[in-house]
Every structure is written in C-alpha cells, then in structure tokens.
C-alpha cells in the first residue's frame, strides 16, 4: 500500500474523495417560498389593500391619518416575521439532517504503511489499496486487484437490478461494462418540497358601501379570519415533537411527516436489522441428545444451559478453534457483543458466543496453535483446521471441523455422548436428524461440529500437513454436536408489535430471507400471532392438500417473491385484505414497491422501511418512507421522510405514538385558535350590519393572534396524551382531518359565539359607562366616523369631538381585546382535554399551560398600561374593573364545555 505521507500528499493534490454535493435549492428561493405560501398571500393582499386604501384616502383628503399605512406595514411585518420564522425552523431541521450525515461517515479498510487501517472514505487517494467485502459500499471508483465471487449492485448507475459480478479481468472497453472496475455509489437527491396545505375563506364583499369602507371591511375580515399565528404555532409544535422524536431515535426530515406518521395504518418492515438485531447469534445447541437454548438477548449475559458435560468441553473447543474470525485490535474496553469483528456473520456469532462463555478466545487459540486449515467453501460445505493441543501430556494433533450438518455427519463414524465416544448407529442418527429438522424448522442456520484426534505415531509433531493433497484423514470423525444460529429479534420489538396491534396498525414483514426463517422471526416477534395459522399450517393440521383449504380461514400468510411475481394486482389486493398477518419472504426490493402500492390501494397510510438504494422507489412511494440510519444507504436516506437512528422497529412505534399525540394536540391548538376567529369576525359583521362604532381594530386582532395567543397555543403541544392513544384505530387520512366539521362547528358556533358575546358585553359596558348606551350606538357608525362632526351627542346629551370619540373607540378595542383574552384563558383550559373533565386530566400537569396563561395576561397588561400612549397601536389604559367583566362569561364557557364533556362520557356513541 501507500505510505501515510504519500497518501497525505496525494490527498492534498487531489482533494478529498467525495462527490460534489448535489445542487440545493438556493436559500433565497426557500426563503421566498415561505414568504408567499398559504395565508401569507392573503396577508400580503391585506397589506396592499391597506396601502391602496390610504391612497384613496389621501387623494380625497390630504390630511388623512396614517392608520392604514401603519396597518399595512404591520401586516407586511407579520408575514415577513412568520416567513423568517418558518424558514428558520426548516433550515434548522435541514441542518440536523446534514449533521447527521456527517455523524456516520463512510469508512474504508485501506492498506497503508503495510497495515490495514480504517480511514474515512473521503480520505482515500489514488493508489490506495482498499479491501472490500460483501455488504460494503464501494468507497471509491476502484479497480479490482483480486476478488472472489464479488458482485456489485450497479442499479443506481445503470438501473440493472441484478448484482453484477466483478473480477480482476479487464473485459470491456466501456468502464461501466468492464468487470474490473467498481464505482463509487452515487445517489440522487431530490429536494423535498414542503408545502403546507391551508384552508382559507374567500369572502366577497358586495354590500353597498363606499370602496374605502369595503376595503377596510375586507381587510378586517381577512385579518380576523386568517389565523396569523397558526403557521408559527404549528411549526413550533411540530418541531418540538420532531426534537422529542429525534431523542427517541426517529429523525423526521419534513415536519409534516410527524403528523402523517401518526395516521399510519400499515407498516411494511424489513426483517434484518429492523426487527432483528442484524447479527447472527447462537440460539440453540444440540449435544448429548438434548437441545439447549442459548440466550439471544442483546448482551448475551445469561447463558443458562448445562455446561458441565464433557461433550460441551469438546464442542466449545471446536467452536473456538475452527473459526477464522478475529476481533479487531484496540477494543479492550468495548463490551464483547459490541466489539467489531473481521469475519463473516456466522463466524462472528461463534466467536462472540465462545468469548462470552469461555473468556479469552485468542489466548485459547494461541495455546492450540493452528497448523493447517481448509477454509469454508460452497463445494465442500465444511471448514477444517488442525491444531496442536494445549495439553502438554497429549502430543496428538486435533482436527476440528464444522459445516453443513449432513456433510459433517457423513464424515463421522462415532458420536460423543456425555464425553464418551459411541458408535453412530441408526437411533443416534435418527436423533440427529430430528434435532436438525427441529432447529431448521425454527428458521435457524444449523452447523454441525466434529473432531478427530490424530494418532501421535502416524502424525508426529513434525508432520507437515498439506491441505491441497489432504494428507490426513477426513473421515471417521467423532460427531460432537449441532449449533444453530439466528439473527434474533430485538428485545423491544415484541412489545412494539403488540402496541401496533392494539393501535390497529397492521405490520407486514418484507424480507429477502428464506420463508421459514422469516416466518420463525415473525412468530417470535408476534407479527404472526401464536394461534394463527397459514394456509399451509391448516393443510398440515388437517392433512389435506393446500388447495383444499379455504384461504379465508387462514389469518396469516407467508408469501414468497416468486408467488408475488405471479399475482395480479387484484390477487394481491385480495391477499392484503383477507389476511391480517402477512410475511413476504424472498422478495426483491422492487417487489416492495408493488406491496406498498397494494397497501395504498387499500386506502392505508403506509410506512415502509428500507436501507438499500433499491428501496428508494418504495420509500418515495410510501406515505412515510423510513430509512435506516446505520445500515441505510444515502439514497434511501434522502428518499425517506424519516430516518431511524438506531434501525430499531420499536422506534417507529414510538414515532407513531408521538405523531398521534401531536395530531391530537394540534387539533386542540387549532380549536383554540379558531375559536377566537369568530370573536374577531363578529365585530366587523356587526359593525356593518348594526352600525356600531368598530368594536375591535385590525391591529388589535393582530395583537391577539400574534401576541397573547401564541404561547398558550404552543403550550397545548406540551399536553400529555388524554387516554392511551395507542389503543385507537389509526385515523382515516381523508375522513378524519385536523379540522373536521364537528370541531369547526363547535369552535366557531358554540364557544366562538359565546366568546364574541362576552367580548361585546365588555365593549358595551365601556361605552355605556362612558355615556353611549347600546341603543344610542345602533346605527351611529356613519356619524361616529365623520371627522368633522365634533359635537356628536351621547345618550346623556353630552357632546363629543371626533378625537374624543376615537379615543373612546380605542378604549373599546382594548376592552374587546381584554374580553377575548380573558375568555381565551377559559378556552385554553377547556381545550386541554377533549373528553376528560379538566379535573381528571389535572390542571397542573402541563406547566407550560400556566406559562401560556401568564404570558397572555402579562402581554395584555403591557399593551394596555405600558403601550397605552402609542397611537398606532390603538390601545388605551383600561379601568381595572373592565378586566373582570368577561370573567363570568369565561366561567360560563368552561361550565358549558364541562357539561359537553360529561355528555360525551355518559353517551359515548352519540356525537
């Protein structure tokens, strides 16, 4: 290999071995997108209308007030601020994603200074010799120097779905075709367009008022109806959840995915690595005619099988010695199960297994020096090695062999039982076969172990073994035992599966693995429940042919990729609809896409996990694509909506739970936000219809929407789940929306109207106590607003100048504002729960709510008493007692809602 210094020189010359990152959407475009999306457009219209209105006013009367200009500017400011905010939030989540990319840089095993070293892939330089093995991502464009059965997946470059064989021969002029070049795996990135769908009202004004009045009216309606704060609130709430989920190892890329996740009804999950631990682990042992169970949990701590038998001693020796896997150096402090190993999956499993039980394996191997070795290959299906033994009194060589059980048995003439060699007769052979079938039936990979002590006289210590000529016996071995391995399920998965079941989420396992293994794992994690049967199981139980079984009787189904290939879409639909527990085995990643489409035809919200490049179409097609953070390719990660940092299925379920919670809480937030829209809208309607002086100004509305209401509505996102949200069916994406009819009706027509009424009472109180009784106010609007009428008479005969009236109007605004604010506190408290009484949920569990309430009151106090003198804000100091006028109404709202909740609890069926 290269020397480190030469590598450093080359690195400096050529730069790091990375692809130029895909061109991203320019930041400014992203920013502008935030500026014009959804409600923002409406507000821009409002702002422009304001300026037009001022233009009209100005052309009529040069001295007209600047109010409209202020309002327009405030509206523009609001849009810009929310835009900046949303942009900032998005940028933040993009950054998390980017930093995550850097967290797990690709590593390459490279030979430098004549040593194998692991370096980050971007440090590779021209001339480096790189070692790759199956499953590695090719770290650079490389030329193969030596290879054994190497195949590469070129699909991202050429679209070939079949793995392409690669060897050292130069076969083709075209670098893509020639067999001795592998390419740096490229991935395509596509920008994720975030669009937030919004509902808005278009109110046409066709009343016979002056253009100016109509415009002001229109602006008022727009401002009152647009929940300016909602976008910011929803963004904050979603990013709070996204953060919380990131802590639980779900990294959500787009905020809307949080919410979609909550509505997931089918999860198509990979097996390996997601449901399982993605490492082969010894699960069972068979020796002394007995099956022993090994601990397959993540840390292996608890090996309880009987280790006293002499057979075990022999077996453990074979396991230890007949193994080429080695721990990577420099990992002394790492727990055994987490140590990195050079070697294939089964050997790794055996190495770790023996290390846990016997202690220092390397030391044992050193004491039993290996003199010859035949590595495993697919033709002999066994692995053999010859060792000196560590027993100084015994100079015999020990030949140890492991391999496919039937091949190993063929080579044996005796079998060890309780440490004694016995001839291998028919009954012991039968016992072996039973055990082999049993373990194989569990979907486990079974290995047989045997050994032979070579007689010292024939094979003295100086004997030279030659593995090519096989100058040593390879038969008449003594069979010692069987050992079976499986990639065991993660210990958190069965619980997660149960949770999904109670949450009405169907789990479909899609794996490339063997059907038997797939079914075994599915059974052990509960994807196929203990008492459900497949068609084949029923056939076996009833002893009839598979065709005779009524397919409807089987709850579970195991379908292989070949069967799936022959299915028409209708058949697939039928399969998906009729079986609640489905395992797809031996499937290709392309078929995942077919499965996802099939599920989507069932009107389901499908979450799909994937890690490979080939999974990208399925991840994109799915409503929620979930990429694996550890094993996932970059293509999968960029196509996915969510990345599982720990590759664990249980994390998906946590994500679903969070998604459901935030959906509930957003519903509360929206109900809270929408309620006051009526209270803000009514003044404008009444102003036009009944001719009252304007009860609330546009700027004042903005102060409610963006001032007092912001923190409380965010606080609702902190609300804990009301009942067990994982015991509900997934919501129907189309029918059960965030804003549905009952919610809108209840918010607008019940609470909203009550709130409007309460606010009007405060307004009328202020006017009446200052001299204008409600009867006088009726139809007073035109006179009231004439600037040159400076002797308008009130109910008591007093006369008011226009400025005095204006000031009173602002006091009215403030009063209305305070009225709404006080009632919003009640609204906030009732929105904490949807069915439970507030006493059941507890008033103090969510502390943020109280922060919200405090912020509401403090902001209102500052606006009324602190900013009372700023003309543009239209706030005046309000007499302290007016703050309490709306309190009875607030209490009324609360009582009303408690009664409603009581009714819901008593008669759950009715709406």
């Amino acid at each position: 290999g290269l020397s480190s210094t030469r590598a450093a020189e080359l690195l400096a010359r050529d730069g790091p071995n990375t692809l130029t990152p895909p061109k991203e959407t320019p930041e400014i475009i992203k920013f502008l997108k935030q500026m014009v999306g959804g409600f923002s457009i409406l507000l821009w219209i409002g702002a422009i209308l304001c300026w037009i209105a001022y233009g009209i006013q100005y052309s009529n009367d040069k001295s007209s007030s600047l109010d409209s200009v202020y309002l327009g500017s405030v509206l523009a400011l609001v849009v810009i601020l929310t835009g900046v905010f949303a942009y900032y939030q998005e940028a933040k989540s993009t950054n998390i994603m980017a930093s995550f990319h850097q967290m797990i840089p690709q590593q390459a095993l490279v030979i430098r200074d004549s040593e194998k070293k692991t370096v980050p892939a971007d440090q590779l330089v021209v001339g480096d010799i790189v070692e790759i093995k199956g499953g590695d991502r090719i770290p650079a464009d490389i030329r193969l120097l030596s290879a054994q059965g190497c195949k590469v997946d070129n699909s991202s470059l050429t679209g070939e779905s079949e793995p392409q064989p690669r060897s050292c021969e130069f076969t083709h002029e075209n670098p893509l075709e020639t067999k001795n070049i592998s390419f740096f795996s490229t991935t395509c990135l596509e920008g994720v367009a975030v669009s937030i769908g919004v509902l808005f009202f278009i109110i046409a004004v066709s009343m016979k008022y002056y253009v100016l009045d109509s415009i002001i009216f229109l602006i008022g309606i727009i401002v009152a109806n647009v929940p300016e704060g909602l976008l910011a609130t929803v963004t904050v709430a979603l990013s709070l959840t996204a953060k919380r989920m990131a802590k639980k190892n779900c990294l959500v890329k787009g905020l809307e995915a949080v919410e979609t996740l909550g509505s997931t009804s089918i999860i198509c999950s990979d097996k390996t690595g997601t449901l399982t631990q993605n490492r082969m682990t010894v699960a069972h042992l068979w020796f002394d005619n007995q099956v022993f169970v090994a601990d397959t949990s993540e840390d292996h701590s608890n090996q309880v099988f009987d280790q006293s038998s002499a057979t075990w001693t022999s077996l453990s020796k074979i396991i230890t010695l007949c193994n080429r896997a080695e721990f990577r150096p420099g990992q002394e402090s790492v727990p055994i199960m987490k140590k990195a190993v050079v070697g294939d999956a089964s050997e790794t499993a055996l190495l770790k297994f023996s290390e846990v039980i016997l202690g220092n394996v390397m030391e044992i191997r050193k004491r039993n020096r290996k003199v010859a070795e035949i590595p495993f290959n697919s033709t002999n299906k066994f692995q053999l090695s010859i060792h000196e033994t560590d027993d100084p009194s015994d100079r015999r060589f020990l030949v140890v062999m492991k391999g496919a059980p039937e091949r190993v048995l063929e080579k044996c003439s005796t079998i060890m039982v309780n440490g004694q060699e016995q001839p291998l007769d028919r009954s012991t052979a039968k016992a072996f076969h039973t055990a082999y079938m049993e373990l194989g039936g569990l979907g486990e990979r079974v290995l047989g172990f045997c050994h032979l002590y070579l007689p010292a006289d024939e094979f003295p210590a100086t004997y030279s073994f030659d593995v090519d000529t096989m100058n040593f016996p390879t038969s008449n071995f003594c069979f010692v035992g069987l050992l079976s391995m499986i990639d065991p399920p993660r210990s958190t998965v069965p619980d997660a599966v149960t949770k999904c079941r109670s949450a009405g989420i169907k789990i479909i396992m899609v794996t490339g693995d063997h059907p038997i293994t797939a079914k075994a794992i599915a059974k052990s994690v509960g994807i196929i429940s203990a008492n459900s049967e497949t068609v084949e199981d029923i056939a076996k139980r009833l002893n009839v042919a598979v065709e005779q079984v009524n397919r409807r009787d089987a709850k579970a189904a195991v379908v292989t990729g070949t069967e799936l290939k022959d299915m028409s879409p209708a058949q697939l639909d039928e399969l998906l609809a009729n079986h609640s527990e489905i395992v797809f085995a031996r499937t290709s990643p392309q078929q995942k896409l077919i499965i996802v489409e099939g599920c989507q035809r069932q009107d389901a919200i499908v979450a799909v996990t994937g890690d490979g490049v080939n999974d990208s179409p399925a991840l994109k097609k799915a409503d929620i694509g979930i990429a694996m953070g550890i094993t996932g390719s970059d293509a999968a990660k960029s196509a996915a909506d969510m990345v599982l940092l720990d590759d664990n299925f249980a994390s998906i379920v946590t994500g679903v739970e969070e998604g459901r919670l935030i959906f509930d809480n957003l519903k509360k937030t929206i109900a809270y936000t929408l309620t006051k829209n009526i209270a803000e809208l009514c003044p404008f309607l009444i102003y036009i219809i009944a001719g009252l002086p304007l009860p609330i100004g546009t700027i004042t509305i903005l102060f409610i929407d963006l001032g007092t209401d912001i923190i409380p509505s965010i606080a609702l996102a902190y609300e804990k789940a009301e009942s067990d949200i994982m015991n509900r069916k997934p919501r129907h994406k189309k029918k059960d929306r965030l804003v549905n009819k009952p919610l809108a009706v209840y918010s607008y027509l019940h609470i909203g109207l009550m709130q409007a009424l309460g606010a009007f009472v405060v307004y009328f109180t202020v006017y009446a106590q200052e001299g204008f009784r409600p009867s006088t106010l009726l139809n007073l609007r035109v006179e009231w607003e004439k600037g040159y009428v400076n002797d308008l008479e009130d109910s008591y005969g007093q006369e008011w100048t226009s400025y005095q009236r204006r000031y009173l109007e602002w006091t009215g605004y403030t009063a209305f504002f305070v009225g709404i604010m006080i009632q919003q506190i009640a609204d906030l408290i009732i929105r904490k729960t949807r069915r439970n009484s507030i006493f059941q949920q507890g008033l103090f569990r969510n502390k943020v709510i109280w922060v919200g309430i405090a912020s509401q009151v403090i902001i209102a106090l500052i606006l009324s008493y602190g900013l009372g003198s700023i003309v543009a804000l239209n706030f005046t100091m309000l007499r302290p007692q007016y703050w309490f006028v709306a309190v009875p109404h607030a209490v009324l709202i609360w009582v009303y809602d408690e009664v409603r909740k009581l009714a819901i609890r008593l008669y759950p069926g009715s709406k």
């Binding site: 009424l757 009007f760 009472v761 009328f764 109180t765 009446a768 106590q769 200052e770 001299g771 009784r773 409600p774 600037g787 040159y788 009428v789 400076n790 002797d791 008479e793 009130d794 109910s795 008591y796 005969g797 007093q798 006369e799 008011w800 100048t801 226009s802 400025y803 005095q804 000031y807 009173l808 006091t811 003309v871 007499r879 006028v885």
Partner: protein
C-alpha cells in the same frame, strides 16, 4: 349584559374621564368638513344654512325660554344682528354671514375663571369679524349641565360670529379660528384633538 344595563345611571354616565374638556363646534354644519361655501346672489346656496340656523335658534327664542325657571337671568345674550329676528337670512344675503360657535355639553363641567370664546381671522384679509356678545363671554350661569334627563330644556351658550366682507364683488375666502380662552380648566391646545376648545372653519363667499 342586562345586569350591566341595570347598573347604569339614567341621569349621569358613570365616567366622564374621556371628555374632560369640551370641544368647540360651529353651527350650521356644512355638508362636508368645516367649509362654508355660498354665493350671495344665489339664495339656494345658503338656504340650508339659514334653515338650520332657524331651527336651531327656535329653542332659544323668547317663546321657548318662557318655561325656563332656573336660570336667574334668562336673558338672551344674542344681539339683534345675528339672532334672525331682524334679518331672517342671517346676513347671508347681504354678504355678512353669521355662524354660531358653541361649546360641547359635558355633564357637570364647571369652567373656572371667565371663559370666553375668542375668534380671529387667519391670514391677511379685508373682512371684519365681530362676535356677539362682543367679547365672546360665556356666562357661568350656563354651568353646570345636569344631563338630558334632568336638564331637558338646557340651552347651551352660544357665541355668534359675523363676518363682514369689504368687497362683495369678489370671491372672498377667510379662515376663522375660535378658541376658548380665560378658563384654566378648559383646554384649547391639544396636538391630537384639533377640536378641543378650538375650531377652525373656512368661509368662501362668491358674489
């Protein structure tokens, strides 16, 4: 709501903090803004003003004032010139229009000192301005006002302003500013409220 209305006093509003000081206003009210515009030769152009004035001053007439008992000197301070008694057209036809300046009613208001309304012509002008009463005094006997219910036939004090233009054959345009003066608790200078204790109006007279 109903409960709130029950707490209201029929006679006096609960608070008067928003109108601590009265505004000034002119009478008749022009159709738009405070801009009187008429033509001497065209009676139609000022008929509206005259009718308004007549109606307004009717209650100030001797007939109506007979009932007033609680004003010790119910004498009418109006001089003949603008009372409409001698000239039913209030000088509009002769090019010397009368305009009444009145102070807004505020319940319980007790002006201090000797309030009077002072009017001046703004800018260079040939017109002559006279007020009736000549120094624009408002007699304290008009105060305080007790509200519409207790004080139904209350008549607020008026000061008449008459402009006599020198040249009646030209278009005359004058701006008049009237202020309350002489009373420390009646404000006449507020940046925001241009009608608090003062009033500015314009008269345009065409031949």
């Amino acid at each position: 709501m109903w409960a709130m209305l029950q707490t209201l006093n029929d006679e006096v509003p609960k608070y008067r903090d928003q109108i601590p000081s009265p505004g000034l206003m002119v009478f008749p009210k022009p159709v738009t803004a405070l801009d009187f515009s008429f033509s001497v030769s065209n009676p139609e152009s000022y008929r509206g003003y005259i009718n308004d004035l007549k109606k307004f001053l009717k209650s100030y007439g001797l007939e109506e004032q007979k009932n007033l008992t609680n004003c010790p000197s119910g004498a009418f301070h109006e001089q003949k010139a603008c009372s409409g008694v001698n000239d039913p057209e209030f000088g509009y036809s002769t090019g010397s229009p009368c305009i009444l300046v009145k102070m807004n009613r505020i319940i319980g208001l007790k002006p201090q000192g000797e309030p009077r309304i002072e009017c001046i012509l703004k800018g260079e002008n040939t017109a002559v301005l006279s007020t009736y009463p000549s120094n624009g005094t408002i007699d304290l006997k008009y105060f305080p006002y007790y509200g519409k219910k207790l004080h139904g036939s209350y008549l607020q004090p008026l000061v008449a302003v008459q402009l006599i233009f020198g040249n009646r054959n030209d278009v005359n345009e004058v701006t008049v500013e009237c202020k309350i003066d002489g009373s420390p608790n009646l404000k006449n200078q507020d940046d925001r409220d241009k009608f608090l204790g003062r009033v500015v109006f314009k008269i345009t007279m065409r031949p």
